[in-house]
């Protein structure tokens, strides 16, 4: 029974059609090095920059999650990681980039609980004046949500918002599935941010949103290191190796 459950969690939902390409064919090839991964990340970003659609970037050297548009950072959030594991982000990044992949996409999203940012009374009044459906103006502040990238890769985003769960039973089932997933080779990064940051991330990160990883050692466009943006919570210190 345990094997059945583990297998279900490992296989999980319907397989996403884009879990990254298969491992290289032919005789076992050496895993790609940092240079190869960095090159792929650069070229992939150049390709993604040609559309008007934002994409996510997991910036491992900066421990930050970013939204990029046309090759430029338009939103960023330090990943204030809550974990008893040492270097969960490194483990996540290693699994993400296994087989040389630097680009995946959000395959699934699950929102545990959220609350409306604007009061429905206010929106009802405003909606009558501007003659618009009030639901178009409402914004949802998430308490917690999961972003999944296939192969057991999960970003677990948590805030200090106290939301209303859609279904406590579904939430418990998802929690158990996620914990089992971690036990069977998945990699999860749990990080904390504020409600407004989570609001944007929750709306931008939809199933299908391309997600690029800047691997450890990725050299940014400007070779000199620059300090991180100051628009969010202070960056946590990385545990020393």
């Amino acid at each position: 029974m345990l094997i059945l459950v583990a297998a279900a969690c490992g296989g999980g939902n319907k397989p996403a059609r884009s879990e990254g390409t298969a491992a290289q064919a032919g005789p076992a090839a050496a895993p790609p090095g940092a240079a190869e991964l960095s090159y792929r990340a650069l070229k992939a970003e150049l390709a993604l920059s040609k559309t008007d659609k934002p994409y996510l970037v997991i910036n491992v050297p900066r421990s930050a999650l970013e939204v990029h548009l046309h090759g430029l950072t338009v939103w960023d959030c330090p990943m204030s990681i809550a974990s008893s594991e040492s270097d969960p982000l490194d483990r996540f990044a290693a699994k993400f980039a296994s087989n040389g992949q630097v680009l995946r996409q959000v395959t699934d999203k699950y929102v545990y609980a959220a609350k409306d940012r604007n009061s429905s009374q206010t929106l009802d009044i405003v909606a009558k004046v501007v003659k618009v459906d009030p639901s178009l103006m409402q914004r949802s502040l998430p308490e917690r949500f999961l972003l999944k990238f296939g192969d057991g890769l999960v970003l677990d985003v948590r805030t200090d918002v106290v939301g209303t769960p859609a279904s406590k039973m579904s939430n418990r089932r998802m929690d158990v599935r996620e914990k089992l997933g971690r036990l069977t080779g998945g990699a999860t990064v749990v990080f904390q941010t504020d409600g407004d940051h989570a609001l944007t991330l929750n709306r931008v990160a939809q199933p299908g949103t391309p997600t690029l990883i800047y691997p450890a050692g990725y050299v940014p466009v400007a070779p000199d290191a620059t300090p991180p943006a100051r628009n969010a919570a202070p960056r946590p210190a990385r545990k020393p190796r």
Partner: protein, 217 residues
């Protein structure tokens, strides 16, 4: 003895049923995963040339191409999700404020075959004009929305108050401008333009030259 066996079997059956139910609840995901189309970009097709020198050259070329996409000067970012506006560089926020973007509603002209969607466009634009003390030239939809007849005299379209103290155009009739409805900032109520409070608007107007990139998502 037989009763004991029967009770034990019954309890075992109940326990087994509970385990099966539990396993099914866990095995079946709480929601159906969506159908996600494949990525349009195949990153695995980007391979470094095996020759070390060529690899360095190609990497440097890719890096330079990405660098060309980045503005040298601070740029404006409009987050239509959180209703915030920023003047920033890649590493630093210089100014930030609460804004109001398009309400995503639609309006149909009852007397003609035309309709408008009031969304703020997403993508990359440039500040193409800067106007102090702007007057609003009301387009047709502003009259239709109020149920008023469309005036024939162009002067009847002009409103000196609605756009605040400054306006910055970024193309196609869209502006970043002020508002008399500052209480509604933070809610997407506009017809596509981006509204700011007067204090933030003045700071931004004075800080950005024409040509400043505007990123909207």
């Amino acid at each position: 003895m037989k009763i004991l066996w029967a009770v034990s079997l019954a309890l075992a059956a109940v326990a087994l049923s509970l385990v099966v139910v539990f396993a099914v609840l866990i095995a079946v995901p709480p929601h159906d995963a969506p159908d996600v189309p494949p990525l349009s970009v195949d990153a695995m097709s980007f391979n470094l040339p095996p020759d070390g020198r060529k690899a360095e050259t190609e990497t440097a070329a890719a890096r330079a191409e990405l660098a060309r996409l980045k503005p040298k000067l601070p740029y404006i970012v409009i987050d239509t999700h959180d209703q915030k506006i920023y003047l920033r560089t890649e590493d630093k926020i210089i100014l930030q404020g609460v804004c109001s973007t398009g309400n995503d509603g639609t309006l149909k002209d009852p007397s003609a075959d035309r309709a408008w969607t009031f969304a703020t466009p997403n993508g990359v634009f440039k500040v193409s004009s800067k106007v102090p003390q702007p007057w609003w030239r009301k387009p047709d939809w502003a009259f239709i929305d109020e149920g008023e007849p469309i005036p024939k005299d162009p002067k009847e379209r002009l409103d000196p108050n609605m756009m605040g103290e400054y306006a910055m155009g970024f193309g196609d009739g869209y502006f970043i401008h002020g508002t008399i409805y500052e209480r509604l900032l933070g809610i997407n109520v506009t017809h596509g333009c981006v509204r700011l409070g007067s204090a933030d608007l003045e700071k931004l107007y004075k800080a950005v030259p024409i040509g400043t990139q505007v990123y909207i998502f």
